[in-house]
């Protein structure tokens, strides 16, 4: 197999993280795949979990398990305290103003559906416009399509340039006096573009529209300050940020939450119930019907502590360092075409690319045999794929435990794929 040795003085950037030590915290990184070291580059789908998160969940079930917000026994009290404490941690993580403005859901998708149901369906109608972008994940598109069908409001889409930046030069055409809500991803999961949320929020403010940010690829990868961003709703999925699967977060302005009706009805979210009618619990509990996943909340708390200790500014700097190296190495391969912003400063730790001769699925299968896990497909962004003129791309996405050696393993595997298909690796 042909090996390409990394170029000397590949990148002047340095990482502030001690990746070797961080890797020791992630037990899954010790496993082998097809006899090779696991090189996990599918972090935009879900991140791996540090031992501290796994232990926190295990400890919760071993010591404190009970249902929350009911029962007067000690375990119920401990479970309730543990659950509510995490609200405070997550609030600080996003620099929200008060813990009660954090609603726990199942994932980003449910958080967005909650807003579509409880805010948009209540307030929007024919003549109103909701502005999205052409590069949204389906989770920040489909709920709005469903809502628009029910309310008669109109959806409009901000276009992108060829590098995958939003066309901010035409913002006035999209965000007008008819606009009531602007919904956009913080960072594109398909191209890695970091959007200028503040610029868009500013335009929305000027016409009195609200702003919802799909932070699924934002919150895990850099500091988020919802007050500084000046937005109204911010949703993310902790499982992409070292946390467990099964819990989602919605931060919203407290006055908006007060005004909104519940999303789901049932236990936990009521103040009083008669056979005829019910009244709702206060914010945020009126949005959390049924028994929540307390253990996952506890795991989210541990993940948030871990991220805070590593430092979100450091994580951002580290990803910039890894993605810069990845883009340099990929650029050495004449058969690879990279999508998205050319300047690594404009993207998170994510690269979408295609081999001009090998379909992304075939690439995914071949590199997996080398222990390298990447995503191949449309990344739940079919309208964007259409806009780029491809049906699918391959995507490598990095996190705090990825380093140059992972990028090198990917490059070697991409070269090996050329061999499998009987293609030259030099053109």
């Amino acid at each position: 197999m042909q090996q390409v040795t990394p170029k000397a003085q590949a990148t002047p950037l340095k990482t502030p993280l001690d990746v070797t030590r961080i890797r020791e915290d992630f037990p899954i990184l010790r496993r082998r795949v097809h006899g090779k070291r696991l090189v996990y580059l599918d972090n935009a789908a879900t991140s791996q979990k540090p031992q501290a998160v796994i232990d926190a969940i295990s400890h919760y079930y071993s010591h404190s398990n009970a249902n929350v917000h009911r029962g007067v026994h000690s375990l119920a009290e401990e479970a309730t305290d543990a659950y509510e404490q995490v609200r405070g941690k997550v609030c600080r993580f996003l620099n929200g103003d008060e813990p009660s403005s954090i609603v726990f859901t199942r994932n980003t998708t449910e958080s967005i559906n909650l807003v579509a149901h409880s805010w948009a369906r209540k307030h929007l109608g024919p003549g109103d416009e909701v502005v999205l972008t052409v590069m949204e994940h389906h989770s920040n598109l489909v709920p709005w399509q469903m809502m628009a069908k029910d309310t008669g409001c109109t959806l409009r889409f901000i276009d992108i340039d060829d590098e995958g930046h939003l066309r901010l030069d035409h913002l006035d055409d999209y965000i007008t006096r008819k606009t009531r809500l602007v919904c956009l991803g913080h960072v594109s999961n398909a191209l890695g573009t970091i959007h200028s949320v503040r610029t868009i929020a500013c335009a929305a403010r000027a016409v009195g529209a609200l702003v919802l940010v799909d932070g699924a690829q934002g919150a895990p990868h850099g500091p988020v300050d919802v007050q500084r961003l000046d937005v109204d709703f911010y949703a993310y999925s902790p499982h992409k940020a070292l946390g467990p699967l099964g819990i989602g977060v919605l931060w919203a302005r407290r006055d908006l939450l007060e005004d909104m009706d519940p999303f789901l009805g049932g236990g936990e979210m009521i103040r009083n119930v008669t056979l005829e009618r019910s009244t709702w619990a206060g914010v945020p509990h009126k949005f959390e019907a049924g028994t929540p996943s307390v253990a996952d909340a506890v795991g989210l708390g541990a993940a948030t502590d871990y991220l805070t200790e590593v430092g979100m500014h450091n994580i951002r700097a580290h990803e910039k360092y890894v993605v810069t190296y990845a883009m340099e190495r990929l650029a050495e391969l004449p058969f690879i075409r990279i999508f998205g912003p050319r300047d690594p400063a404009d993207r998170c730790g994510l690269v979408s690319f295609v081999d001009k001769d090998i379909h992304p699925h075939d690439l995914g299968t071949v590199v997996d045999q080398h222990g390298v896990a990447i995503r191949a497909g449309h990344h739940c962004a079919k309208p964007l794929m259409h806009r780029l003129g491809v049906v699918a791309t391959a995507r490598a996405s990095f996190y705090i435990y990825n380093d140059h050696d992972d990028v090198d393993a990917l490059i070697d595997a991409l070269i090996a794929a050329r061999e499998v298909f009987g293609l030259s690796a030099s053109r």
Binding site: H361, D362, Q369, A392, F421
Partner: protein, 164 residues
């Protein structure tokens, strides 16, 4: 480096079909026109069939997808030209059963399709190999419902019939 699994998946005959697929010539006035999509991965193909007297006279396929889905579609085109509709359905059913873990019946005329057997070891890729065949079945089911019977829905594959 041992890449037995990969060598078995990407056999030379598959790569040959991928590089120059059968069924690229246009079909004039097709009796059946169907589009198959794999919504999970974005693979898609358009299939046109020229049918006369219970036989497939010509197959035209425009595949957009990975090597496995393109090669499988190409083998379909190669194998079904001149086949009766009954033979076409029988081949689809047998090939599907093989992909899902079965064996080829003794003496069955399997042609190049045999080369796709390595796909069995890559379960997530089986749907790639089946896309063209599910699309064929749906197209024939609407052309001659009695022949095909109840079409088993596959959550991974969506077929849109344009003409039958």
């Amino acid at each position: 480096m041992s890449m037995t699994g990969l060598d078995d998946l990407y056999r030379e005959v598959i790569l040959d079909h991928y590089r120059s697929p059968h069924g690229s010539s246009a079909v004039e006035d097709p009796q059946v026109e169907v589009e198959g999509h794999n919504p999970l991965c974005g693979d898609e193909l358009v299939m046109q069939l020229d049918i006369a007297g219970g036989r497939i006279r010509a197959v035209h396929i425009e595949p957009r997808g990975c090597s496995i889905s393109v090669a499988s579609a190409s083998m379909l085109a190669q194998q079904l030209e001149g086949a009766t509709l009954e033979e076409a359905i029988a081949l689809k059913k047998t090939f599907q059963a093989v992909m899902k873990g079965g064996e080829w019946p003794a003496g069955f005329e399997r042609g190049d399709l045999e080369a796709l057997e390595g796909v069995k070891n890559f379960p997530v890729r089986i749907k790639c190999a089946l896309l063209a065949w599910m699309t064929l079945e749906q197209g024939l089911a609407e052309y001659e419902p009695d022949l095909v019977g109840e079409v088993e829905a596959d959550r991974d594959i969506e077929v849109i019939t344009k003409k039958s």
